[in-house]
């Protein structure tokens, strides 16, 4: 790594003692990125931007929020009505969570389509799944803080999942609650952890970046960068592309924040929590609906909980479950079809999760759950062995340069 010659003397002086500028130059400018990245590669940096937005708005909300069962609901309403721009900061934070999940889910499906989890990027993928789990825990605890009906009953149902553990289940639930029901000690610890976990996410994101920069981004063709003709510097090319994507994202985000801020919310959460009355139809936030559908698809309590956690843990094994050597679905005609079936399956699961467990929803939920596990546990290992992939191009630049050479 050749140290770049900085023009500014002060920068040179600092960089000699603390090489942050060389580091940034190396990781942004020297960092060779495949020249064929599509807009599907925008969502990683976009997720990072939203994470920063969530932390900043969250820190400000904490200045006016009161974590006590008697005051929490009112303090949130005070933020909405009396605190200067409180409505704006809260709506950004609230909808930011939904957009964070939209972005991360697209990011994950992009990884699945283009085989981004395959060697040598297995740990990069696993760190991503860890981030997803941390995000889910953070989002769940954040949803409890306004202390509305959905907050309270969501907390009750989710913490009760642990009561399915044989023998020690009830003791664990009491420990999680700090009492015999979801109450003030529960609210306080959720607040504490909701503040802590985002910083753990930042730490894992950094590891995610270290792992990413080891081999660089994958690309839509799924073949390795063969030389300098296949790559361009990350900065300014992809910083510009990411910035454009971020602009498009902010239009959509601002549209929801300003014109339909309760689009993703549940009206019941504007009713203060009542420990004696369960709302007739409790649903989690939309981003948890597919897991909720899997939980309910299985009539046994313990097995339902295992299946629900299993639906995420199976992602940890994905790099080894998929036996195909070819990364990109572009050259895997059969896998490509099943990929879209999986996407539809997850949407169906979400739809089933949003509806009461009655009538045909039960059957559809069970079929969709079975298919979800079938895809990962049976289809992927077998398909990788029997599928005949299309011929891969020789290099990233070859398919682009060849026609031009032909003309000459």
């Amino acid at each position: 790594m050749a140290a770049p010659a900085f023009k500014n003397g002060l920068v040179r002086w600092i960089d000699h003692r603390l090489p942050v500028f060389s580091f940034l130059h190396h990781e942004l400018h020297d960092y060779p990125s495949p020249k064929n990245l599509s807009y599907w590669w925008n969502f990683g940096s976009l997720a990072g931007i939203v994470l920063v937005i969530m932390i900043v708005t969250g820190v400000f909300l904490a200045m006016h929020y009161t974590p006590h069962t008697a005051y929490a609901f009112d303090s949130v309403e005070r933020i909405m009505r009396d605190v200067n721009y409180g409505w704006l900061i809260r709506y950004i934070h609230m909808n930011g969570a939904s957009f964070f999940f939209i972005i991360v889910y697209i990011h994950i499906f992009r990884g699945m389509y283009y085989g981004s989890y395959k060697a040598p990027r297995e740990l990069l993928w696993i760190l991503g799944v860890v981030i997803l789990l941390l995000m889910m825990a953070t989002a769940f605890m954040g949803y409890v803080l306004p202390w509305g009906q959905m907050s309270f009953w969501g907390a009750t149902v989710i913490t009760n999942l642990f009561s399915a553990i044989p023998l020690v289940g009830d003791a664990i639930v009491t420990w999680l609650w700090g009492g015999f029901s979801v109450d003030n000690p529960t609210l306080n610890r959720f607040y504490s952890l909701h503040y802590l976990l985002p910083f753990l996410i930042v730490a894992v994101v950094m590891l995610h970046m270290v792992a990413l920069h080891r081999f660089g981004s994958g690309n839509p063709l799924g073949i390795d960068v063969k030389g300098p003709q296949d790559s361009i510097p990350f900065h300014p090319y992809y910083t510009a592309k990411d910035a454009f994507g971020a602009g498009v994202f902010f239009i959509a985000f601002a549209g929801v924040v300003f014109f339909s801020p309760n689009l993703f919310g549940e009206p019941d959460n504007y009713i203060p929590a009542n420990p004696l009355v369960t709302p007739p139809h409790i649903v989690p936030e939309w981003y948890f609906l597919p897991y909720y559908a899997i939980l309910r698809a299985i009539p046994d309590k313990l097995l339902g909980v295992i299946a629900m956690f299993g639906s995420i843990f199976v992602l940890f094994l994905l790099p080894w479950l998929d036996t195909a050597r070819v990364r990109s679905a572009k050259f895997r005609p059969t896998y490509r079809k099943f990929f879209w079936v999986l996407v539809v399956d997850c949407i169906v699961l979400g739809y089933v999760g949003a509806n009461p467990p009655e009538g045909w929803f039960i059957l559809v939920g069970r079929i969709a759950t079975a298919y979800y596990f079938f895809h990962f546990l049976i289809l992927l290992p077998v398909l990788g062995l029997i599928e005949r992939p299309l011929p891969l191009p020789q290099s990233i630049s070859a398919p682009v340069l060849k026609p031009a050479e032909g003309k000459a």
């Binding site: 009760n160 420990w175 700090g178 009461p356």
Partner: protein, 183 residues
């Protein structure tokens, strides 16, 4: 192990003692880490003031036959129902082989007309419906949990749905004919 130690006695003796020190130090480290972790784990368990609020007394005088009241015990709803003759008979007549969590009705009520239950669904902790006259009572005339569709009978026993266990009967005692203490 002993053989290996004897065979390499002399030169390797110091290494064996060093291994022992490593193991002993690591063992003490684990014990120490556990000793430090325990206060933090215990910190999150119910505190003394929470434990102190663990009994509730209920006056049963105003409760008429066929009527239910809900009281709070440890932050949870407790259902107190004065059952009708028909409900008691149905509960008593149910065959144990029909129950996912077999328990005789007589074992669940100290006095057959008074049924005392923790009003928390044993699936994932929702409060079942059935306390009010207009509530759905499920297919077995007891309680119905709207969250995931569990049906309980007139003895609070699970009959259908994902809940694994009967509604819990809290510890309680009759202080006199018309007063109970729960907890």
């Amino acid at each position: 192990m002993a053989e290996a130690a004897t065979a390499t006695r002399g030169h390797a003796e110091g290494e064996t003692r060093r291994d022992f020190i490593y193991l002993a130090a690591a063992g003490m480290g684990v014990v120490g880490a556990g000793a430090v972790a325990w206060p933090f784990i215990s910190f999150m368990n119910p505190s003394a003031d929470v434990l102190a609020l663990s009994t509730t007394e209920v006056d049963l005088k105003p409760v008429q036959e066929g009527m239910s009241i809900t009281v709070t015990w440890r932050g949870k709803p407790v259902f107190v129902r004065k059952r009708t003759k028909a409900e008691i008979d149905t509960a008593a007549a149910t065959k144990l082989s029909d129950l996912p969590d077999p328990q005789a009705d007589a074992a669940r009520a100290k006095k057959p007309e008074w049924l005392i239950l923790v009003g928390v669904c044993t699936h994932l902790g929702c409060v079942p419906l059935g306390q009010k006259t207009a509530d759905p009572k499920g297919e077995y005339g007891g309680w119905f949990c709207p969250c995931h569709g569990s049906h309980y009978d007139t003895s609070g026993r699970i009959r259908k749905g994902p809940a694994p266990k009967n509604l819990e009967v809290p510890p309680y005692a009759f202080l006199d004919d018309t007063t109970i203490r729960i907890g």
